[in-house]
């Protein structure tokens, strides 16, 4: 799912200077899954914001609401009756949710409380690691189900660089496996090492963000 983490609270407060009534909106889907923007996190952040505002001599009223999904306009509509008197919205959804709120409530400043970082899996409680880079040209069929675009720091497609540490970790981050080492091991186990000898040509990045803002249009789904 889409994951992210809280912006530093100081950064959030910077935007909320002078705001007396805030609508703090969570999302019960992706950002709840990664403990950044679900109801629990909303209810944790709200008192922190109130206390921080009080420290500066101001008083901040925080109205909280967690939507099932902020990227669904139907759910966003539930906020309409809560915006009365609110001077700003702080969203703990991913960037998609923040924009959905901003689009529905253009008269209100909508600020992100979360930095969306990646498309990740939860490896174990509290650990989310990137799996997909949304490159638009999936190579998982050629790399034994391990993605070098997302999981290699250099997105190499033809094997590991010379930076694999002795323990098989990546030179960029000691906690990250060298994905090409894992791909090699899997190829070996499958008896398909020769697949890795094939020269992979330069990638077509035009279907990713590099080709411009993404757009998938299925006219057949509109009547």
């Amino acid at each position: 799912m889409i994951v992210g983490e809280w912006k530093p609270i100081a950064e959030m407060l910077e935007k909320l200077r002078g705001v007396k009534k805030l609508l703090l909106v969570g999302c019960a889907t992706c950002t709840a899954e990664c403990a950044a923007g679900g109801e629990r996190e909303v209810e944790t952040l709200a008192p922190l914001l109130r206390m921080a505002a009080a420290r500066e001599g101001g008083a901040l009223e925080v109205i909280t609401k967690t939507l099932e999904r902020q990227c669904e306009l139907e759910f966003v509509e539930e906020l309409a009756k809560l915006t009365e008197g609110a001077e700003a919205i702080l969203s703990l959804a991913c960037g998609i949710g923040v924009q959905a709120l901003a689009e529905r409530f253009p008269e209100l400043p909508v600020y992100p409380g979360v930095n969306t970082t990646s498309l990740s899996i939860r490896e174990k409680p509290g650990l989310w690691t990137s799996r997909c880079a949304a490159c638009g040209d999936c190579v998982l069929g050629e790399t034994f189900g391990l993605c070098p675009v997302a999981r290699c720091a250099k997105s190499l497609l033809n094997g590991p660089c010379g930076g694999t540490r002795r323990n098989g970790k990546c030179e960029v981050d000691e906690n990250t496996d060298c994905i090409w080492t894992l791909i090699y091991e899997r190829a070996l186990k499958r008896g398909r090492l020769e697949d890795l000898l094939e020269l992979r040509k330069p990638k077509n990045w035009s279907r990713s963000r590099h080709g411009g803002p993404g757009r998938i249009d299925r006219e057949d789904l509109r009547v």
Partner: protein, 313 residues
């Protein structure tokens, strides 16, 4: 003789002679004198002079400019080109430009990631957006396409020759070790004419990998030059052993440097021993000698190793 590039390095190798390349690091400045001075020190001492490309992701004078300055000063450069900072458009464009300026050797590298780079006190640019549009093997292939087919990666043609002697790097001792020779094979299949390896301190282990390369016929298809970095202190050896992937330093060498009364002299001694041991390895076409930020040590070492003067071509 039909040369691919006509560079001195290519000619020395084609003539079956043991080749020697050295590394010249460009300055963190816009001062051309630094490169000219280094050229002055090293002229005539090597067959090719590698100019690094923003090594460890720290901004230095570009390798293209550095290479041109060396060329003007009488040292044939090996242009190092990484995939970290330039997309395929810029890479091909820079290659055409380099060729126009008379640069004939290019070493294609993936490039140190900007977060891993900036050794020690330097800050680097860890917040930069990296490119890695293509990888080093694809770059080799792209360069071969320009040279041998007159064709750009996207299909457009280029007019006229783009002579280049194409190089790639090899880190034979980084894990997974068994895959490293296969990856070397891939680079050579993609078009690499010469290979420069990561620094060797453990000759025995390197020899074992080189043997596998030989058995696969790779040493006939490309010239492999073993990398040698002149040790200046025990701390330096320990640092490299710990932090530079693929560099394996045997304990005895560290101990020797620690015990030495004059570590610098001991480092030169070790370098000479390494050069000697490597020259004896069947299939090795040469060495790539580096004295990081201490290029002034190289002439003495090259002479003492019996590698001076360089062969006539």
């Amino acid at each position: 003789m039909n040369y691919r590039s006509g560079s001195r390095l290519e000619k020395v190798l084609a003539g079956g002679k043991f080749a020697l390349t050295v590394e010249v690091g460009p300055p963190r400045s816009a001062d051309p004198e630094v490169m000219r001075q280094k050229a002055g020190l090293l002229k005539g001492y090597a067959d090719g002079y590698n100019v690094t490309d923003n090594q460890t992701a720290v901004v230095r004078m570009s390798s293209l400019a550095g290479a041109k300055l060396l060329l003007e000063a009488g040292c044939e450069p090996v242009l190092q080109m990484t995939c970290r900072d330039r997309n395929r458009i810029a890479l091909q464009s820079d290659l055409l430009g380099a060729s126009a300026l008379g640069i004939r050797n290019c070493l294609c590298l993936s490039g140190d990631h900007q977060k891993a780079g900036a050794s020690g006190k330097l800050k680097g640019h860890p917040g930069a957006k990296n490119v890695y549009d293509v990888d080093s093997i694809q770059l080799v292939s792209i360069l071969k396409g320009l040279r041998d087919q007159g064709r750009q990666e996207g299909g457009d043609t280029v007019d006229g020759p783009v002579p280049f002697f194409i190089g790639a790097a090899w880190t034979p001792l980084a894990p997974p070790e068994e895959f490293r020779v296969l990856r070397l094979a891939k680079k050579i299949a993609a078009g690499a004419d010469f290979i420069q390896t990561q620094a060797v301190y453990d000759v025995r282990r390197f020899a074992s990998q080189l043997k596998k390369a030989r058995e696969m016929g790779l040493t006939e298809r490309a010239a492999i030059l073993a990398g040698v970095i002149v040790p200046r202190s025990a701390a330096m050896l320990k640092y490299m052993n710990k932090n530079v992937p693929g560099v394996e330093v045997p304990e005895e060498l560290v101990k020797r440097m620690e015990k030495a009364g004059e570590p610098q002299a001991e480092g030169v001694k070790i370098t000479l021993e390494l050069l000697d041991a490597l020259r004896g390895l069947p299939g090795l076409a040469g060495v790539h000698l580096q004295a990081i930020e201490a290029e002034q040590l190289l002439p003495e070492i090259i002479r003492a190793a019996g590698l001076y003067p360089r062969p006539e071509v």
